[in-house]
Amino acid sequence: MSRKFMSGKVSRRAVLAGTAVGAAAALGRFPTPAIADTEPFRLGLLTVKTGPLAQGGIQMEQGVLTYLKEKNYTIGGRKVDFISADTGGNPAGTKTKAQELVERDKVDVILGPLAAFELYAISDYIKEQKTPTLSLAAADNLTQRTPNPYLLRASATSSQAMQPMGHYAATELKLKRVVTVTEDFAFGYEQMGGFQAAFAKDGGCVVNKLWPPLSTPDYTPYVAQISDCDGVCQGFAGSNPLRFMKAYAGAGLKYPVVTGETGGDDALLKNFGEEAIGLIGCCPYTIDLETEANHRFIDGMIKNYDSIPGQYAALLYVNCQVVDAALKATGGDASDKDKFMAALKAVNLTDTPRGPLKFDHLNNVIGTFYIRRVQTEGAKYGLKVWNKTIKTYENVSQFWTWPEAEFLAHPVYSRDYPPLTKC
């Protein structure tokens, strides 16, 4: 039985799970939605626990559970029923699981999903159902040109971390000509669009953009195309950064490499070796943030799961804090979805594992972003390599330093936007 039944008493779901036949549930005899503070608060999570995306998805669940355990399954004064659903990492599965959470389990809030295409698949549905959703998926446009009023993003848009990275690469690393390389899908396009725009704003120039398919066993054919530059920006996700950095080092290339939130994720540290030393990345979370909240989070992750957390776990933990804060603000009442959504948007936290955060009027986070360098010095928690923060950007908005209207006037970042220019 995978479901976590965490309220103090035995929940309906636990009973159901015990009766071998789910058909019992089909009869639809459920307690009617009841008085706010006696019923447990129902927290749903859309994640991926099977298949190639499972690494991030399992971390997401661990992040949520770490928070719930820390709070003894009580947030905003209410017991929590936590229901975790495995989407299998595909859009149709995500839609079905969202229906399960909303229609069958009557959750008050959805956390997740992980991937942009999963979020797009359910965006209209959550709007229709008015279910507040705290997404990890970074799809830019859902908090930009086509905002969804029931979506809140406490993590980052795809381009949000890459924009400070572009600034840092141009102004501090003094890079002039960069080749970008990342997976051939929307998350990659939006990351590199953000990097290119911010990098160009401070005088840099992207000379070539490479897009390997999502499942590329060997990156060498792409590494071989990197030339005529003074730096490389990679935007890989999942296990791909590891393999890219190996292929890169294996080809003997020495240009400095910069990356975004997933390309240097702390969860990869235990698998990174020599080849990653010197990689500079920008991330909305950093393991070396010396605050009480972050220590509490990391200690919890190590205690509960013996796992060195990366941003997926951290950002889901932060999402739980946001829900907790909103629930406190409404006095434990989440029955009015519009009111609860407003309370979520108004959350303004100062002490989270990722530092202070608040939300803009399009429901996206304004928070701190960290530039880190992979190095061996200072490694903790038994790791051999470490992400050392070398610069902090505070109050970073999804629009970077552009005025909102100017930012939104250009098309969403894509494979071809911004275009390559001669330089």
């Binding site: 190639p52 690494q55 399992i58 071989a224 296990s239 590891l242 969860a267």
Partner: protein
Amino acid sequence: MTFWLLLTVNSVTFGGLLFLLSAGFSLIFGLMRIPNLTHGSMFMVGAYLGTTFLSGALGFKLNFWLAAILAAVEVAILGGLMERLLLRRLAGQPLAQVLVTLGVSFMVADLCLMGWGGDPISVGTPPGLAGFVRWGGAAFPLYRMAVIAIAVVFAAALWIMLDRTRLGAMIRAGVDDPQMARVVGIRVSQLFTIVFALGAGLAGFAGMIGGPILSVYPGLDQDMLPLALVVVILGGTGSLLGSFVGSIIIGFIYNFGQALLPELAYFILFLPMVLVLLLRPQGLFGGQII
């Protein structure tokens, strides 16, 4: 110049790796007519087992080569068991074979996720092969050269085995005409188990050898299986020479295609396959086992 050299060397390396993976697939298909869809899983399991022996998580620590061999042996045993327990009874039922091999591959993928977690595991290059060979201003990783050498050695060994040994003669007879082989007294049943185990072991070995280049991660099986299919279809099923030539061709198409025609990255593997299937359905070397 460096660009071309690097790609050429890498094409041959990748081809060598594909050969180790697909030789077994081709033999199994040629001899037993089983489309073994667990072949990618064998590759992945070999890599996972190898990294475990390498890491010392089991209380002992092996060097890279011993770990690769031990992993290959274990995967071969798993393959043999699978043949004995499941595939044996399904001779001549391709649909049931597809169902059972896909079913096992689902189970293996999930077991690996359970056992090794979702995190990618990076496999260290064996000591002594971590450096570069410098040639004409370009640097070639020593390990990739070693992979080429390993593939050539295995190709030669397999060729000798098929051409010179009694086992090889039996396999050739079985591929050519299974009924006749049975009539002349070859114990086809035992032969099938041996060949299946051998093919699985080769795939497992390839997984570990590929480790330092590809790493090990959930989904590696899905990434490799189509490549093995393409190689075998291109080269011709049941043909060792076909697997070898097919692997090298695919190695080149894969590397040069992705570098020169990145827009076609998704088709580059399948177009030649469709062409070959339409013009020469038996594959380039179909019907010639060696």
